[in-house]
C-alpha cells in the first residue's frame, strides 16, 4: 500500500510507477532506440559517399563541410519546426532532422580517417595491382575504420540526447514521456525517462566501443607495442575533442 502512495505523493522515485507503466516505458524506449538507430544508419549511408567525394574533389569539400556546419548550428527545436511543412507531424520529420545533424560529425570523421591513410599503404596496394574500388574496400576503409567508428559513437550519443526534442511532434521516444510528465507534474515519469535516456546513451556508446574493438583488433596491438600507448590514446582523445563540435540542444 505504501508503494501505491508514492504515486499519490508524486515522489521522484516510485516503484509502483515502474510496475504499472512498464509497457509505456518499453514502448517509448523502443521508439527512442528505433529513431536513433535509423538516424545514425542513414547518416552513415549518406556521409560515406559525401566524404569520398569531398576527398576526391577539393572544390566539393568546402561546400559539404560548410553546409553541414550550418545545419549543425540550427537549434534542434527550430530544425524540427523548419522541416514541418515538408513532412508534417511524422517520425520521418524527426529522423530527417537527426540525420542532418549526424552528417557534420560523420563526414568530418570519415574524411579525417581517409586522409590519415598512409601514402605508403595506398602506393603499395596500387603497385600490387589493386584497382580503385578494391583499394578503397580492402585498404583505405579498414584503415579509416577507427576514425569512422569514433564518429559513429559521437553521433550516436548526441542523437540519443537530441531524439528527446522530437517530443514536440510526439515522436521523441522517452522525450515524449518527459514532456508529458512536465505537463502533468508527474515527477517519477520525468526522472525515470531522463535516467533511461542517459543509460541508453552510455549503453550505445559501450556497444559501439565493443564493435570498434572487434572490427579493428590491429589498433590494440599497435597501442600495446608502443610503450607510450596511453599517451597516444590521450592525445587522440584531445584531438577528438578539438575536432568535433559540441551539439547538445
Amino acid at each position: 500500500m505504501s508503494e501505491q502512495n508514492c504515486l499519490v505523493a508524486n515522489d521522484w522515485v516510485c516503484g509502483e510507477y515502474l510496475r504499472s507503466r512498464s509497457q509505456e516505458l518499453v514502448d517509448a524506449t523502443v521508439q527512442h532506440v528505433g529513431i536513433t538507430a535509423a538516424s545514425v544508419a542513414i547518416g552513415v549511408l549518406i556521409s560515406l559517399p559525401l566524404a569520398l567525394l569531398a576527398r576526391r574533389r577539393r572544390a566539393f569539400a568546402g561546400p559539404v563541410l560548410g553546409v553541414t556546419t550550418v545545419f549543425y548550428s540550427i537549434p534542434s527545436l527550430a530544425m524540427f519546426s523548419l522541416l514541418l511543412p515538408l513532412f508534417g507531424l511524422s517520425v520521418t520529420l524527426v529522423i530527417t532532422g537527426l540525420v542532418l545533424y549526424s552528417l557534420t560529425i560523420l563526414v568530418r570523421n570519415i574524411l579525417a580517417g581517409l586522409q590519415a591513410v598512409p601514402e605508403e599503404a595506398t602506393e603499395a596496394a596500387r603497385g600490387m595491382g589493386y584497382g580503385p574500388l578494391r583499394l578503397l574496400w580492402e585498404v583505405e576503409l579498414p584503415l579509416a575504420l577507427p576514425a569512422l567508428l569514433a564518429g559513429v559513437r559521437i553521433a550516436t550519443v548526441s542523437t540519443v540526447a537530441l531524439t528527446t526534442v522530437g517530443a514536440i511532434v510526439d515522436y521523441g521516444g522517452l522525450g515524449t514521456l518527459i514532456l508529458d510528465g512536465l505537463d502533468s507534474d508527474f515527477k517519477a515519469q520525468v526522472l525515470t525517462a531522463s535516467v533511461l535516456c542517459v543509460v541508453l546513451a552510455i549503453l550505445a556508446d559501450l556497444l559501439l566501443l565493443g564493435v570498434q574493438r572487434w572490427l579493428t583488433p590491429w589498433t590494440r596491438v599497435a597501442a600495446g607495442r608502443a610503450s607510450r600507448g596511453t599517451r597516444i590514446r590521450k592525445a587522440a582523445g584531445a584531438a577528438e575533442a578539438r575536432e568535433t563540435p559540441e551539439k547538445v540542444a
Binding site: 537549434p75 523548419l82 540526447a161 514536440i168 531522463s194 590521450k234 582523445g237 575533442a241 559540441e246 540542444a249
Partner: protein, 222 residues
C-alpha cells in the same frame, strides 16, 4: 508551399512583433537568458580551464566533461529543474541549465588550447627568465587564444539553442513562438519562429567568428 508564404506573411505582420508575446519581447528574453548564462559560464569555466591547462592537470576531466555533456539530454535537465523547488523561481531553472551546457565546450577547448601550446616555446620562455605568470600571459594565452575562442563560439551557439528549448519547459524566449504555434496548430507561425531562431543562431555564430578574428592577439604576425 503555403507554409512558407504563410511564414513570410507572419513575419511581415507588424502586430506579431509587438507586445508581450511579440518577437521583440521574446528576442529580448532570449538574449537576456543567453547573455547572463554565457557570462556566468565563462566566469566559472575559463579561469579553471586556463589554470588547469597552465599547470597541466585535469586533462581527463576536461575531455570527459564534454562527452558527458553530449549524453545528457538538455530537455530532460530543463524539465527536471523546472519540477524541483527551483522551478518556482521563474528564470532560475533555465539559467542553471544554460550554464550547465555552456561549461563543457568552454572548459574543454580552453584546456586543450593551453595544453597544445608547443612545449619547446614554453621552455624557451622560461629559459629567458619569464615567471609563471609571464609565461601564462605572454606565451600560453596568446597561442591558446584560437581554441579558447572556438570554445566560446560553441558555448554561445549552444546557449542560444538551449534557450530555445526553454520554451518547451514553459519559460520564455524565441522558442515560445514555435511552441505557441504548435499549440495553435498554426504551421506558418511555427515556421516563422523556426526561421527567427535559426537566423539568430547563425548570426551569433558569424558574430563570434568575426569578433574572434578581430581580437586575435597573433593577428598580422607569422
Amino acid at each position: 508551399m503555403s507554409a512558407i508564404s504563410g511564414a513570410y506573411e507572419w513575419l511581415t505582420t507588424g502586430a506579431n512583433w509587438q507586445g508581450e508575446k511579440g518577437v521583440w519581447h521574446r528576442l529580448a528574453e532570449h538574449l537576456y537568458f543567453s547573455g547572463v548564462a554565457l557570462g556566468v559560464a565563462c566566469l566559472i569555466a575559463l579561469p579553471l580551464a586556463l589554470w588547469l591547462g597552465h599547470i597541466g592537470r585535469g586533462g581527463t576531466l576536461a575531455i570527459n566533461l564534454s562527452n558527458v555533456g553530449r549524453a545528457v539530454p538538455t530537455l530532460a535537465v530543463l524539465v527536471l529543474l523546472t519540477l524541483t523547488p527551483l522551478g518556482r523561481h521563474g528564470d532560475v531553472p533555465t539559467l542553471i541549465a544554460l550554464v550547465l551546457f555552456a561549461v563543457p565546450p568552454l572548459l574543454t577547448n580552453a584546456y586543450v588550447g593551453m595544453r597544445e601550446v608547443d612545449r619547446s616555446v614554453v621552455e624557451a620562455a622560461r629559459g629567458m627568465g619569464m615567471s609563471g605568470g609571464q609565461v601564462f600571459a605572454r606565451v600560453e594565452l596568446p597561442l591558446a587564444y584560437p581554441l579558447v575562442m572556438t570554445g566560446l563560439r560553441s558555448a554561445a551557439v549552444q546557449v542560444i539553442a538551449t534557450a530555445t528549448l526553454a520554451a518547451m519547459a514553459g519559460e520564455g524566449g524565441l522558442g515560445r513562438i514555435i511552441t505557441a504555434g504548435f499549440n495553435l496548430q498554426d504551421t506558418p507561425q511555427v515556421v516563422a519562429g523556426a526561421v527567427l531562431v535559426a537566423a539568430l543562431a547563425l548570426l551569433v555564430e558569424v558574430v563570434f567568428v568575426a569578433v574572434g578574428r578581430l581580437l586575435d592577439p597573433m593577428r598580422g604576425r607569422a
